[in-house]
Subunit: 315 residues, 2 copies
């Protein structure tokens, strides 16, 4: 297991600079009053493809040597990683093959194709996905870029916290949602060196609380098919992300889907940004555990903004 280091994150930041945005940090006097904390929101939903995942994807894509780049990249994902990897590959002008379940929303498929990604559909099961992916990879020779359990991806995600600390001048805590743990691992990677006094806190949906249970048990627990409105957080931890979570995360909190939707609407109304349910889990966590955050400078990563505007969860 190759564990990415701080210097890998620094190299990543230099490498991906032309392809990512230094996203703005938003504040709201209203949300500060409501929570009793001083909140800073890093708007990764403002990346061109709408998610922080472009950082890790771009780091993988632009770190390839020319020979490998010519064969392109490949992944399986039905979410933001698929579109972010396609976007990064398009920027480099190399092929990107994506295996997606045929049941994935049409909008997600459209986005991948808009960025030149080639989709191979599979059945919505792990066995079909693995089989299909193996075939695609054998045919294309594309370099496998895992959505989160990849040192290049984690080093890329870590660049977000570096900017966040520069932009805010320091934070007591950073709260990010946890699914597979890519963003949380990148955050741990960066802050454990850059600001070891800043706590890293993970926020997870109650209905997909495998990271919480893993954290308490001391080993990875993976659920079969969790269901939550926070559809970016369904995947389990893997060895590399477990390394960071088990060593550097201070606490994992869980919140209900109803609490997530309430927090999402508050952010839309008062920060006036369009973001997805997964990104609302940190604010839901802070509202549910006010005492743990009161009086603190708390950074929240708004991880993504790809949501179906015709089906908002509060309507």
């Amino acid at each position: 297991m190759l564990i990415p280091e701080y210097r890998d994150m620094l190299a990543a930041h230099k490498r991906i600079q032309p392809y990512i945005r230094r996203t703005p940090v938003r504040v709201s006097e209203y949300l500060n009053e409501l929570t009793g904390a001083q909140l800073f929101f890093k708007c990764e939903n403002f990346q061109e493809p709408g998610a922080f995942k472009v950082r890790g994807a771009a780091n993988a894509v632009f770190g390839l040597d020319d020979a490998q780049a010519a064969r392109g990249v490949a992944t399986h994902s039905s979410g933001n990683h698929a579109s972010c990897l396609s976007y990064a590959a398009m920027r480099r002008g190399i092929p990107c093959n994506v295996v997606m379940p045929r049941t994935a929303p049409q909008a997600k498929k459209d986005t991948v194709r808009r960025y030149g990604g080639v989709i191979t559909e599979c059945e919505p099961s792990t066995s079909s996905r693995e089989e299909t992916f193996a075939k695609v990879q054998a045919q294309t020779g594309g370099d496998f870029v895992h959505p989160y359990n990849d040192p290049r991806v984690i080093a890329g995600q870590g660049t977000c916290s570096k900017e966040f600390m520069e932009q805010t001048g320091g934070l007591d805590m950073v709260v990010a949602p946890i699914g597979g743990g890519g963003m949380i691992s990148g955050t741990c990677l960066t802050l454990s060196t850059l600001a070891p006094e800043t706590k890293v806190i993970a926020a997870e949906p109650e209905q997909a609380d495998d990271a919480y249970r893993s954290f308490k048990a001391g080993h990875i627990i993976a659920d079969d098919a969790p269901k939550t409105i926070a559809d970016g957080l369904l995947v389990p931890l893997k060895d590399l992300t477990w390394h960071f979570v088990s060593n550097h995360v201070s606490e994992i909190y869980t919140t209900s889907d109803a609490e997530i939707v309430d927090a999402m609407k508050l952010i839309w109304k008062h920060l006036r940004v369009v973001m997805e349910p997964s990104s609302a889990v940190p604010l839901a966590t802070i509202l549910k555990n006010k005492d743990a955050f009161a009086g603190k400078r708390v950074g929240i990563i708004i991880t993504g903004g790809n949501v179906d505007l015709d089906k908002l969860p509060w309507l």
Copy 2:
């Protein structure tokens, strides 16, 4: 008629600095491709009370001498000016009285009250509003801050374009929505001195096209009760805003409500910001008149972000 000058705008910017945000400028590769122009969106919806109008309101409020400040400010408005003036007054700790039609949306009344504004309700007619406002002003002695036909307000709104030019390094055109003409006048005030080669273009709903018809006729035409989804743009030009529109605006374009809603959804989806229908009129205009904007560096002011999340116009 006291016409505000460039130095008034500079003084306003200094005065209001602590109470406003230097709002970020957003870009979208997707919207650039779609329009063939290079678009820059200045997100005034990110002001704390959600609209550019806090600039003019804060300039009026913080420009008062102590004696007048003690008596506070007063206005009539059912929209963003009411909440922005209440917000500015709250920041200075002085009274703010607002006359609003009893039919105004509850959410707007709630926002004014949240900022400590005192509402006196009137019937939804001009005569009732004027009568009620005269009474309130006589009782309180509050200084009347008109929503747009006030040199302090126009000088305040002009600070937006100053930041916009600094942030973008120059633009070929700035497009803003036009209702009473406060933002457009401020834009003209600033750019006619700071960047006289930058064209100021106004975008108006077809269904409230009194500014367009005034511009073509060469004198103010006011409609009685226009109806459009762009509910921030219902009011007519007045002498002061007509001065700027007639002297400095290059063109006024109109678009249908359906085009406005389409543009609004595009902005929500690709810029991922929550903004109101009025703020979508510029993009609707550009999409409808692509040839006029193709290849140009075009600034768009996203004027406000106060919208009922339970009643989105495309649903």
